[in-house]
Symmetry: C2
Subunit: 148 residues, 2 copies
């Protein structure tokens, strides 16, 4: 918890999504990093989405604005939590397995999928299906990014 530096680029000129918080623990660092980065992405997504809705409706009211703020917070925290969990899991896999490859992403995605699913429902079949989907999505995302 020694040094804490926080810097976010302005969204209006050239967005430079760059958030750094040093907690002194690599595991926690990664999780916080994942939470903040993906949380920012989700907040930006909601902002763009709601702006489009306002433009297509042609009206901006106080109520809409409050709704947008609430949705930003909710989606930001949700995406951030899932991302933090996934990054933490992947880092844990790396420490346990000693290597870095796509199997970490798969297992991390599967565990994250299972945990997120277990937190919102108690159907055993759904948890397993979500775990499988999570693993597949994490593996797919990894492959896509290392393709080019």
């Amino acid at each position: 918890m020694a040094k804490t530096s926080l810097s976010t680029g302005s969204f209006l000129s050239s967005p430079k999504l760059d958030v750094v918080i040093d907690t002194g623990n690599p595991f926690l660092n990664l999780t916080v990093d994942g939470f903040l980065k993906i949380g920012s992405v989700a907040v930006a997504k909601v902002a763009v989405e709601e702006t489009y809705h306002c433009l297509s409706k042609g009206s901006i009211s106080q109520k809409n604005f409050e709704h947008t703020l609430k949705k930003m917070c909710k989606e930001g925290v949700y995406w951030g939590s899932v991302a933090g969990l996934y990054v933490g899991m992947e880092y844990g896999m790396e420490r346990i397995r000693g290597t870095r490859d796509w199997k970490n992403a798969m297992l991390g995605g599967a565990l994250t999928g299972a945990l997120v699913s277990a937190a919102s429902s108690s159907n055993r079949d759904k948890i397993v299906t979500d775990a499988i989907a999570g693993g597949a999505i994490a593996t797919g995302a990894l492959f896509l990014n290392y393709l080019t």
Copy 2:
């Protein structure tokens, strides 16, 4: 189309998802690569999913097997097409913009989301929302993979 080499690791021992096809054109290469890699991930996902269903039901019938094969083909082609489209878009962005950063992923994801959505529905609002979600997901996946 000079040389064509295809090699896939066995899924039973240590899976080594490694598919290479050289078409002689970098744009096409990437798209085919994305299609095959992400298609394989989707096929593996369906295989695991259906195996779980068989195990939890305790029965394997001819009909189930046919259903699984069909689902594998369908999901494999769907995931593969989306991935190929996205990789192609991202590569196109890189060529047009001249640089590689997260904005390529965002624009590529947004275009892919819009195209996939436009192919399956004609609701203008849904296409825009899907484009925004696609861009956000692609950006998020990129950040997550370059975090560690």
